[in-house]
């Protein structure tokens, strides 16, 4: 897609948005490292807190990895729209003839690429540290891959609703946590089923369905929330 034959008022297209968001994310290296460090640190401290019995850790591993991944995603999303709101570029996006849906989708996609994907990639390493039986690795990885996408999409709605508020952390947690619950239940449920030797495809299919629904609906909700937040 060439930008030469497009009027400069048409606003950025989806690929341009994606490229710029990725560029910004890579320039703010700390924003990428923080959730991953949080993820690794909390899970590394866990055996020190509850004791080093291998059976106990193996029992806790799926739930703990999922809960910490969920918190890491949420903490990193609080500022998803903040800087764009403050410098006025979010307002420019609302004025663009391009649908806001795609702008939100581009931001969420990049957030998932720099947060959700690395969390899923790191999870087998932490599973090894927590003595997760070998049967659960693949399922844990796939469930986190699908689930973190849902978490990023849902979190974007909370971030959009609270973007104009100064200290939005707690409010965002209250809005987003109930919506995270189904993802958490089916994510840990899949890993538990895999550990118990049952088929876990159903849970993964439900996670994939949640992801599809969230990809269709969450950017719409977030776009609406952004319009409300910038109308003040």
């Amino acid at each position: 897609m060439s930008s030469v034959d497009r009027p400069a008022t048409a606003g950025p297209g989806f690929s341009a948005l994606l490229r710029v968001e990725l560029l910004l994310a890579l320039r703010r290296g700390a924003d990428i490292a923080n959730p991953l460090l949080f993820f690794v640190t909390v899970l590394a401290l866990l055996p020190l807190g509850v004791g080093p019995e291998p059976e106990l850790l193996a029992r806790m591993a799926p739930g703990m990895i999922w809960v910490v991944a969920l918190l890491a995603t949420m903490l990193s999303q609080e500022s998803l729209f903040r800087s764009d709101f403050e410098d006025g570029s979010l307002e420019q996006l609302t004025l663009s003839p391009q649908p806001l849906y795609f702008a939100v989708l581009a931001k969420v996609a990049v957030h998932w690429l720099v947060t959700g994907l690395p969390l899923a990639l790191l999870s087998p390493l932490l599973a090894l540290m927590l003595n997760l039986p070998a049967g659960g690795y693949l399922c844990l990885f796939v469930s986190l891959l699908l689930g973190s996408g849902c978490l990023s999409l849902i979190g974007a709605v909370g971030a959009a609703l609270t973007v104009s508020l100064r200290r939005a952390g707690l409010l965002m947690a209250l809005i987003v946590m109930p919506l995270y619950v189904p993802v958490l239940i089916f994510g840990t449920g899949a890993v538990q089923a895999a550990l118990d030797g049952y088929a876990y495809h159903v849970q993964l299919a439900v996670l994939a369905a949640l992801l599809a629904a969230a990809a269709a609906l969450a950017p719409l909700a977030a776009a609406g929330a952004i319009r409300i937040s910038t109308d003040s």
Binding site: G88, Q92, D231
Partner: protein, 224 residues
């Protein structure tokens, strides 16, 4: 229909009153802005200049009265208005983590056009520095470089475009605005400084201010 697109547009405001946070800012405001016309909004701080601009571009919906774009009410004509709109708000829409060149590319400019536009606002040599390392005035110039891109929209809505600009910058901006008006564009801007533009009309919002006693629209008066 043989006229160029830029000379056909018309923004009409009839008996407009705006409110913000339950307080009515001004009432009975009417004006017309057609091709080749410029209007400078004046008024004390808090008189509602920014609110008026944001209402006219459809970003704030709390208003009473009529806003027409080419004779159609704003609710129906909003997509058409936004296609002809170039808005630079008080927050100029310059992303601090990007370079000036990348910022203009984000607005859809080709690289050659963007470089030329940056040269026009005296940012030649800064195109690859991050905007967070530039001064406030230079960041304002990055936003104003959008006015020099080809296909610039016919309707410019500028909120305090002169803020943080130096004298040479103000003169260059006035020249660009005059050229835009000569080409059939129109400009709506807020500023506290006088501008040297022949076509410029002025509108003081304080003349349309609502007395404090009548300003509150919330509470009991809504139900009476």
């Amino acid at each position: 229909m043989s006229e160029p697109a830029t000379s056909r547009h018309r923004l009409s405001v009839r008996d407009l009153s705006c409110e913000r946070d339950g307080r009515r800012l001004f009432a009975g405001l009417s004006f017309e802005l057609g091709a080749g016309a410029a209007l400078q909004l004046e008024g004390a701080n808090g008189a509602g200049k920014t609110t008026l601009l944001r209402t006219l571009i459809g970003s704030a919906a709390d208003f009473a009265g009529e806003i027409l774009w080419n004779g159609e009410p704003l609710s129906r004509a909003l997509p058409a208005l936004r296609e002809s709109l170039l808005y630079i708000g008080h927050q100029a829409g310059v992303r601090r983590g990007l370079t000036p060149l990348e910022n203009l590319a984000w607005y859809g400019a080709a690289e050659d056009d963007a470089l030329w536009a940056l040269e026009q606002v005296d940012l030649f040599g800064f195109e690859d520095s991050l905007c967070q390392q530039l001064s406030a005035g230079q960041n304002r110039r990055v936003a104003l470089a959008r006015l020099y891109l080809p296909y610039a929209a016919p309707l410019w809505v500028l909120d305090e475009p002169l803020a943080a600009l130096d004298t040479a910058g103000v003169a260059a901006l006035e020249a660009r605005m005059a050229a835009h008006l000569d080409g059939g564009g129109s400009i709506l801007l807020t500023s506290h400084q006088p501008l040297a533009l022949a076509q410029l009309r002025r509108l003081n919002l304080s003349d349309h201010a609502v007395a404090p006693a009548d300003a509150w629209v919330g509470g009991a008066s809504v139900f009476s």
